[in-house]
Each structure stands twice: as structure tokens, then as C-alpha cells.
């Protein structure tokens, strides 16, 4: 039998059964909305967290010197490992898999002064590579410290946005002077407003950056506080660390197997773990939403069963008029699918409208910068459509089989 005929009979019958369908549509819509919003919430959370995580820098590792735990070549344990400014260059030569690397000094409690604004603040001396590695990105009209600043040990400063507001208020900061322990510096750039949820040694919005060379000349620090690097290839993060470990072990004479000689914070590894956790959260949310939808699916099945009970005579009549079993089955299957998809698509549309309008509501809250806003992606859409199809088929199949097994003689017996 042609599908077009099945569909035309089905549409005709369907139109006459409106009331029964409304409630199921509601349940399906609700189920779809909850699964969409739960998944969308997970997605929004992940996006926001990823964004926040990137604030400190993407795919970087921060490296500190530690204290040896294993005696090595006649030297006792407990020896401190310190990095020298030239170590960055040294490592870059020894480990070609490094993309960018730079050393960093930092010092707390430094007096900053502009006009009558005086603060004690955190000061960092670093290299131009930090612009890319640590997202020290200047606002328009300014710049980060550059190679020439480094070479000439210029007294220039690149400052965080909050620090700029503390020092200069609404005034333009670029080109202005600031005194660092009574030494005049010129502000060459102000950092853009960025989201950041992890840090080592202070938030970037508070930072005061000067060239590492200037820092060394001014404060006389012999050792770097830490090194930051980024591998060329994200997947080689652990290899790069192993090579760096070996190179430094050779230079500073510690056992390469000494886990305490260096300490590293590998954000690539961190985000891998983070993504796994997020996947877990999404699966969890998906299961909760899926269960809600499953209940709606049982509802569809139930309504189909009731519908068959009420329509046995109709089924019997159709069989007496020469309808094949497959026709009866297809009709009920189609009906279940149509109900499922109408409810499902309705729910999807409502969820989409909800998340889109939520995006447009201008709420500026701490909660949102942490949780993000629910986002519905194509991926979520496809997942939900797949679930709906499987559900539609299953909630229709068993009722359909039952409908096709109706005994026409029984159903037509005159009471």
C-alpha cells in the first residue's frame, strides 16, 4: 500500500482525535524543554568556564623551582632550585617543541604613586611573550612591553584595568607617569577587560607589568620567580615538560626523577580534566532530561494503548473493509511519531526562544560570570532529535503491534 494513502487516512483520523493528543503534547513539550535546558545549561557552563580558564592564558604551563628530595651526585637533598633569567633562552634552544617561553619576576608591597593616589601593589617583571601566553592584551591605543623595552631596560609599565582605575580613574592612562618606589615609569598600555578564574600570584586586573630587565636592574633579583611556557603542539604537553625537566636537571644537577625539584602547573592537563568533568555533568544532565522525556514517551505509549482500546471497532471496520495489518500498524506508528515530534519540536522551539531571550537579558551578576548562560548548540539539537525519534518509534511500536492484532470479528460483534 502506498505511503501517501496511509498518510491521508492517518491525517483524516488524526484531525478528529485532537483532544486526546493535547495532554501528551504538553508532557512531551515539557520533557523536551527540560532536556534541552539541562543540556544547554551544561553547555553554557562549559563555555563560560573555558572562557574563564583562558583568562590566565591558553595551553600554558607555569614552572617553579622546588626543593630536591633525592640526593644526587654527592649533593644532599633539600637543595633549592632557582631559575636564572637566561634559562628561558636555554630551554628554548634545548627543547624545540616549545612555542613560547619567558621568565617572570614578581614582588609584593611595592609603592605606586600617581598624583596623590598612593598604593602598595604587586609588580611583575616579564617578557613580551606574556602578551600572547598570558593574554596580557592591551586596549586600543596602548601596547604591551616589547623587545626594545627589554633591551634598553626602559621604565615602561603595562597595567591591569582595575589598577588603572585606582590610579587614574576615568582619565586616559597611556602616556601618563607613575612612580614605582619613587622611580618614574611611563604607562604604555592598559589590559583589556577579561574573564579570569584562576591565577598564580594575583589577578591580572591588578597587575603592574614592567620589562623583566628593568625589574632586575631596579630590584636586583638574582633569580626568576617562575617560568611560563607554551608547547607548539597541545598534545605534546607532557613530552615538553619531560624534556624541560631533563634540561634543567642537567643544568642544575638534580635527579631527573626527582619530582620535587620542579613544580609545574600544566593548564592543558587541567582543561583535559575539566572537559572530562564537564562531559560527566552533561551526561548526568542528559540522563535527567532523558528520563523526563522517557516518562513522556511512556505517556505517548499509554495514550496510544487507550486510543486502541477506544478504537477497536474502528480498527475492526477498517480490517473488514480490507485494510492490511501493516496499514493499521503504520497508522498507529505514524500517529505516535507525529505526536512525539509535534511535542518535541514545540519544546525545542520554546527552549530555543527561552535561551535566546535569556542571553539578551542584560543581567550583570557574579553568578552568571561563573555559570554562564544556557546555550543550545546544533549538537544538543541533534541529540534531542535522536532521542525523540527513538522514543517515538518505541512508544508507537508496541501499541501498533497490538492494534494490528485486533480480532475484527470480536471488535465488530454487536452488543
Amino acid at each position: 500500500m502506498k505511503l501517501s494513502i496511509i498518510i491521508s487516512v492517518f491525517l483524516r483520523d488524526f484531525r478528529k482525535q485532537k483532544k486526546r493528543i493535547a495532554l501528551t503534547l504538553l508532557a512531551l513539550g515539557w520533557g523536551t524543554i527540560s532536556i534541552m535546558l539541562l543540556l544547554g545549561f551544561g553547555e553554557g557552563l562549559q563555555k563560560q568556564m573555558t572562557l574563564n580558564n583562558k583568562g590566565m592564558g591558553e595551553n600554558i604551563t607555569i614552572l617553579w623551582g622546588g626543593r630536591t628530595l633525592i640526593p644526587y651526585k654527592g649533593m644532599g637533598k633539600g637543595r633549592r632550585i632557582h631559575f636564572l633569567p637566561e634559562d628561558a633562552e636555554y630551554l628554548k634552544k634545548r627543547v624545540p617543541e616549545i612555542d613560547l617561553i619567558g621568565g617572570e619576576y614578581s614582588s609584593w608591597g611595592i609603592k605606586l604613586k600617581y598624583g596623590d593616589h598612593i598604593f602598595t601593589n604587586h609588580v611583575v617583571g616579564c617578557t613580551p611573550e606574556y602578551e600572547s601566553m598570558r593574554n596580557f592584551i592591551p586596549q586600543n591605543g596602548g601596547r604591551m612591553i616589547n623587545a626594545l623595552d627589554m633591551k634598553d631596560k626602559r621604565r615602561v609599565a603595562f597595567i591591569g584595568l582595575k589598577l588603572k582605575e585606582k590610579l587614574y580613574g576615568d582619565e586616559d592612562a597611556v602616556g601618563k607617569q607613575v612612580f614605582v618606589n619613587s622611580m618614574p615609569f611611563t604607562v604604555v598600555g592598559v589590559m583589556i577587560d577579561k574573564l579570569q578564574n584562576n591565577s598564580y600570584g594575583g589577578m591580572d586586573e591588578d597587575v603592574f607589568v614592567m620589562p623583566a630587565t628593568t625589574f632586575k636592574a631596579m630590584f636586583g633579583n638574582q633569580y626568576l620567580d617562575n617560568i611560563v611556557y607554551r608547547p607548539k603542539n597541545v598534545s605534546e604537553n607532557r613530552l615538553v615538560f619531560e624534556k624541560i625537566n631533563e634540561a634543567l636537571a642537567a643544568k642544575y644537577k638534580f635527579d631527573p626523577n626527582d619530582d620535587e625539584a620542579l613544580s609545574d602547573w600544566d593548564t592543558i592537563e587541567g582543561s583535559r580534566e575539566f572537559n572530562n568533568i564537564m562531559l560527566g555533568i552533561k551526561i548526568f544532565m542528559g540522563i535527567i532530561g532523558g528520563l523526563t522525556l522517557l516518562i513522556a514517551g511512556v505517556g505517548v505509549s499509554n495514550i496510544m494503548y487507550v486510543s486502541i482500546k477506544e478504537r477497536t471497532r474502528e480498527i475492526g471496520i477498517k480490517m473488514a473493509m480490507g485494510a492490511r495489518k501493516s496499514f493499521i500498524m503504520t497508522q498507529f506508528l505514524l500517529e505516535a511519531m507525529l505526536i512525539t515530534f509535534s511535542g518535541g519540536f514545540g519544546g525545542m522551539a520554546i527552549s530555543y526562544i527561552m535561551t535566546e531571550s535569556f542571553k539578551r537579558i542584560p543581567i550583570d551578576s557574579q553568578v552568571l560570570t561563573f555559570l554562564g548562560r544556557p546555550t543550545i548548540s546544533l549538537e544538543i539539537g541533534l541529540i534531542v532529535i535522536t532521542i525523540l525519534s527513538v522514543m517515538g518509534i518505541f512508544s508507537g511500536l508496541f501499541p501498533a503491534i497490538k492494534a494490528a492484532s485486533v480480532n475484527p470479528v470480536e471488535s465488530l460483534r454487536y452488543e
Binding site: I5, S8, Q17, M321, A323, R324, K325, P408, L412, Y414
Partner: protein, 226 residues
């Protein structure tokens, strides 16, 4: 012979209780026969009609419909027989309550895969024949019993079947509407159909050329009127 039943039995099973509604009956109908099936309530008339109409299969015996052994037909073949070869008319009309007269008559044509344009023509033609051109868009609830039964006959006729089976078609009608229905069957018979009518009404049975009398699942008498 269009219908040939040999030693047909039908046993219903309700739980552990078996009940023989038909007991090894033999029945032969020629093409163009017009038969009344009579007998007391519970004698097996409807059971017999369901078997003839391939709506049900016998427990025992052979049934040749137009020379084909019915028990060898597949479920789809049986559906096709019911669709093309047989037209059913019931006491309770059995129209789809939510569908119009047009849609009800259209149903067997849909199952036969007739194209939309031809369906429409055929439904119009046949509803005109039963005198219901003006009730085409009416639902069963908006029609009288006589009108509903005429829609049902039009539906039974849709695919121009050779055999019309009617189970107490006048049982729910007043005598005037009933007479009109009987007249319709007579017309169909004259056009060459084989018609089997179950009836309680002696007056109706008396008008038909052949009467089969059932009692307790057996054929009590079977003969042509003079």
C-alpha cells in the same frame, strides 16, 4: 460455485470452555444467488457470515471462495479479498463516527489504492445510486438509521465486489426504511451480485429466492423458493 463450504466447523474457546457455533456444515452458493439466512438468535448466523467474508477462519473444514482455499491465503491476501471481493453491511452500521458519508464510502477505495480523482468520482456515483448525494458531507450522527445503512451499503459497493454480505441490515430500522434497504439489495442482485442477507424478519426472508435455515450450528433446511 462462488462459495463452497465443506464440513465447516467453528469452535469458540472461552477460557477452558469450548463452544461449537457451527458443526460440520456444507453450503454451496452460485454466482448471482440471493440468499436469506434465518434462524434463532445464537444459531450461528453471524459466525457463518464472518467465515464467508474471510473475517474469520474455520476451525475445521474446507472453504473455497471462487475456487481458492481460504485457509491457504496470507493475511494480506485475505485483506485484499475483503477489500475487493466482498462488501460487508452490518446491523450496527459500523460507520466511522467521526468521518463524513463521503469519507466512509471512500475508505475501501483508499485501501485499494485508487487515485484521488477516481475515488471522488466513484464515491459521488455510488452515493447518488443510494440516493444520498445531498448527505455527502454529513456525519453518521446527522443521519437517520435508514440513511446510515444506505451509506454502509454504498461503502460495501465501493470496490464493486461480487458478494454482498449483510448481517441483519434491517434489524435497527423501522419497517419503511427496512423495506427501502431490501429494495436496494434487490436492485444490486439484478445487477448480478451474489447477496447473502441474515434476517429475523420472515416477511423479508419470504421475498428472497433462497432461504438457509440454521439451528444450533447446523443447517436445518436449505432450499429455493418456487
Amino acid at each position: 460455485m462462488i462459495i463452497e463450504m465443506n464440513n465447516i466447523s467453528k469452535v469458540y474457546q472461552t477460557g477452558n470452555v469450548e463452544f461449537a457455533a457451527l458443526k460440520e456444515i456444507n453450503l454451496k452458493l452460485k454466482r448471482g444467488d440471493f440468499v436469506a439466512i434465518v434462524g434463532p438468535s445464537g444459531s450461528g448466523k453471524s459466525t457463518l457470515m464472518n467465515l464467508i467474508g474471510c473475517l474469520d477462519l474455520p476451525t475445521k473444514g474446507n472453504y473455497l471462495l471462487d475456487g481458492r482455499e481460504v485457509k491457504h491465503l496470507s493475511s494480506n491476501e485475505l485483506a485484499e479479498v475483503r477489500n475487493k471481493k466482498i462488501g460487508f453491511v452490518f446491523q450496527a452500521f459500523n460507520l466511522l463516527p467521526y468521518a463524513t458519508a463521503f469519507e466512509n464510502v471512500e475508505l475501501p477505495l483508499l485501501f485499494a489504492g485508487v487515485k484521488s480523482k477516481n475515488r471522488k468520482e466513484r464515491v459521488h456515483e455510488i452515493l447518488e445510486k443510494v440516493g444520498l448525494s445531498d448527505k455527502m458531507e454529513n456525519k453518521p450522527t446527522e443521519m437517520s438509521g435508514g440513511e446510515m445503512q444506505r451509506v454502509a451499503i454504498a461503502r460495501a459497493m465501493a470496490n464493486d465486489p461480487e458478494i454482498i454480505l449483510a448481517d441483519e441490515p434491517t434489524g435497527n430500522l423501522d419497517s419503511k426504511s427496512g423495506a427501502a434497504i431490501v429494495d436496494l439489495f434487490k436492485e444490486l442482485w439484478k445487477s448480478g451480485k451474489t447477496i447473502i442477507v441474515i434476517t429475523h424478519d420472515e416477511k423479508i426472508a419470504g421475498q428472497l429466492p433462497r432461504i438457509v435455515k440454521l439451528k444450533d450450528g447446523l443447517i436445518e433446511s436449505n432450499g429455493y423458493a418456487n
